[in-house]
Each structure stands twice: as C-alpha cells, then as structure tokens.
Subunit: 143 residues, 4 copies
Amino acid sequence: MAEPNGSPHRYDLRIYYEDTDAGGIVYYANYLAYAERARAEMLRELGVESSRLMRDNNVVLAVRWCSVDYLRSAVLDDHLVIETSLQRLGGATLEVTQIVRRQEIDLVRIDLKLGCVSLCGGAARLPLAVREKLGGHLNSNRS
Amino acid sequence: MAEPNGSPHRYDLRIYYEDTDAGGIVYYANYLAYAERARAEMLRELGVESSRLMRDNNVVLAVRWCSVDYLRSAVLDDHLVIETSLQRLGGATLEVTQIVRRQEIDLVRIDLKLGCVSLCGGAARLPLAVREKLGGHLNSNRS
Amino acid sequence: MAEPNGSPHRYDLRIYYEDTDAGGIVYYANYLAYAERARAEMLRELGVESSRLMRDNNVVLAVRWCSVDYLRSAVLDDHLVIETSLQRLGGATLEVTQIVRRQEIDLVRIDLKLGCVSLCGGAARLPLAVREKLGGHLNSNRS
Amino acid sequence: MAEPNGSPHRYDLRIYYEDTDAGGIVYYANYLAYAERARAEMLRELGVESSRLMRDNNVVLAVRWCSVDYLRSAVLDDHLVIETSLQRLGGATLEVTQIVRRQEIDLVRIDLKLGCVSLCGGAARLPLAVREKLGGHLNSNRS
C-alpha cells in the first residue's frame, strides 16, 4: 500500500519456472517486468490505471532511463517483496526507486526515470489528477 | 484453494503491460505461463513445491502435451481467474484442465498432460507422497 | 523459404538464457513464441507484414486453437529449425503445422488454427491479396 | 562479427508480436534480453559458449549492474541492429556497452558490468582461455 506519509508501497511476488533460467536463478531482464507490476499496483491503489490513462488521457507512462544493481539472486519458489518509493515528481516526469527483497535481504535495486508520453508521439504533461494523487506519496527520506 | 471434494482450484491474476502485445490483447503464448503459475499454486497448497521436488526427489513435472482454445481476449488491467481441475492421475502422469475466466466469461481453455521426468533423463514415477496428496483432489465431474 | 510447390518454410533459431528455465530446458510456453516468429517470417517472405495488415487492412491473424506435442527438450545454445506448413486455407481461417527440430530430430509439433480478426472486433475475411499469396503455398502432402 | 581491431560486434534482430506491448511499442524489459542474445553471439564467434562455460568451467557470466537509456521506441516488424563493444576487461569482470539501432538511429543504449560467478556460489576468475579471446576485442575508442 502507498501510505499517505510517503512510506514505500509493497508488492508481493512468487517466482515460477517461467521466471528462471538454466543458471538456476531468475533471469536478469525479468526484474524490470516485476518492477512494472509493482508500479502498476502502486498506481492502481491511488486510482490510476494504465488502460484508463490510454483511453481517457491518451498518454502512457514510459521508462526513459533505468539503472539496476543485481546484489543477490532469486530462485524458484522464492517469495519476494518489491518496495516502491516515489523520489521526485515533475510536470511530465517522475523518479522512482524499487528494491526487490527476499525476507529482509536486498536482492535487486532499480532506479528509474519515467516520462509521460502522448500516444500521438512526443512528451506530455502528467494529467493533473494523477499528479495530485502521486503528490501525497513522495518519499520524504530520499535514499 | 484445491477443495477436498475435487472442486477446481482458483488462482487470481492481473494483466500488466508485459502480458500484452501490439494488437492490444494478451499475447497467446502467455496463457501457458499463467497456467503454470496456477498449477504451481495448486500444488503448493497441497504442500508440493517444484524446487523441493527437484532437490529431494530429483524429478520435475513436465508438460507432454497441451491443447489451447482461445475463446475471447484478455486486455490490459483485466483481473482474471484460472480454475484448475485435476482430471486423471496415473503412476507417472496427470491430466489437468484449466479455464481462464474474466468474471464469469470463459476466455481460454487449456487441457494438458504432464509427466514426471527424472532430472537424469527418462520418465519417472510420481513420488508417492505427491500422488497421495493429489489423489484427494481428482475432479469427480470430468468436463 | 516458402517454396512454390508447398514444401515447408524453414526458420532458424538459437536458444539463449532467456529461453530456458531452472529445469535446464526451454520453457514450454516459449515454443509458441518461436512458432509465431516462424509464421511471421513465412508471411514476410510472401510480402505480408503484420504491421501493414493492421495499418492497411485493420485486421490481425489471431490463433483460435493450438495443440502442442512436447517430444524432446531443447537446451541452452541449441540451434533449432522450425518447419512451417500451411495445411488448409479458408475465407477467414488457416490451419498450420509447425515442427521444431534439432538437426533431424523432432522436438515439438504444433498444430494451429488461425482466424482473421478485425481490430474493431469480430471475425473478418482474409484480405484477398493475402489469400492469393498463401494459396500457392498449401501443403500438398498433408501430415 | 567481433573484429580483431576492437570495432563493435553487430547482431541483427527482428521485432515480433511477442516483443511488443499494448502501448504499440517494444516492452522496455525486452531490450535486456536482446542485449543478452547479442553478447552470446559475440562470445560464440570467439568460440565461447555459455553451456560449455557451465559444463567445463562451472561458471556463468552474470550481469552485476546495468544502466539503460531509452531514447526512441521500436515497433512491430522493425529490423534492429545491436552493436556490442567490450569496454574493459578485468580478472573476474567485464564492462560492455550495447547500442540498439534502427537504421542509423540510436534507440536504446545499455551499459553493463558482468562478473564471472561460480555455479557453487561466489565470484570466480574468468577462465584464462576466455580472457585471452576477449582481450583482442577491447574497444580502443571508449565511448
């Protein structure tokens, strides 16, 4: 839940065969997919759904940049938690940090910059309602 | 939950961008991944985990055959339920039917035959403990 | 190449980490993705591209049904070939058989029925130009 | 081909439905999978295969960190090229830059640090034969 005081949103995740590779661990690209699931759930709890953003506002939130630190590996049947913190909120962009944990151990840290993009092409401002909903969830202790 | 009387196991699923394609719908191969998640959760509730099967029994449950009927499409942000029914249980094989639903509408029906396979190669018998746990969950009204 | 006499189209494929799972083999759902790549290349060689079908004809070719036999497993670094044969061609549907091979050994056999679907919803007839291009490539020795 | 003078290795790629999402573009996590395909082919041309590294040397090359700049989007049916340059080579690590291009336009830039990891856990030195093969392909004009 995205708490009003800006504490991180938590998303639970189970690791299945589809997530793993022949090295016996979770394939490195998949963490970006999990991170997107976690961001989608954080937004959904604020009342923002991607499909409605496309339909009603003609925009999508696109990742412009990300950086991923792979600290430890996850394996089959692991139960993971992703903590998502909103670090910065601009008129057309947002910055997010996401930590993938198994119990209290950090496995992967992802930092991202997202931009609001018009489906017709080009940057767009964040819809005001989205901006206001996100505004209350800025992380006050930036990591 | 896999009910003792053999009623189907239910697994909940949300559709994210990663699941969809440029046609605006869920990519057809992904339903097989969702089906595997649902089977893994059905087994986990019976106390059977894939990682322990590999480690303790040196076997995996592998799909030998499947048939998929695509009736309707799922789209971004859909909430789906997968109903999994165990149809037949042999010494080394099992047959499963899985229905992907949105609300009460059937979207995809998957029939599968799985076999127990030794990590050293070749077929293997289902571990007795697994067979007994599954035995109580056979579907009595085969569809 | 889709030969004029209806001999199968051949598509080459290499197996990477992303394709494999913790069981050390190619994940079962991925063969459907490879099959789609092979169908796309067969169509591209006939001058039919999915993106143009969407843009110019407002239709997509969607899989309505498939059946998959998993005979043997593929593993990391395997070089595979997919043979695609057009088995039947209707006004709005086509039937295709695809065999995934490693050297001369059959690994997976996929049978599919595809239907032409309007982006506005509902079935649609195959564009005439597509139908004519496909017509010359029907498999004469149906398997 | 990884040229002896250290010019980038080129890998060709086609975009299929499986690669795209409901926003009509390639899903952002997938570029990391393409990058891995390109690195695997660069290594294969030098005579290094991941499956043999695992079997003969008991090691894998794992991504420890990456950074991804998303400059422009790829779409269905695009033909892309990935240029891979080896930037730095240590005893147990390597640094790589990969540029995803459509014709002469840069779409995505990926910087990675990889480490050699023992299948038994823990860091490992790069096998000497691998290190020597890579040594001749260091990029002399670091970008």
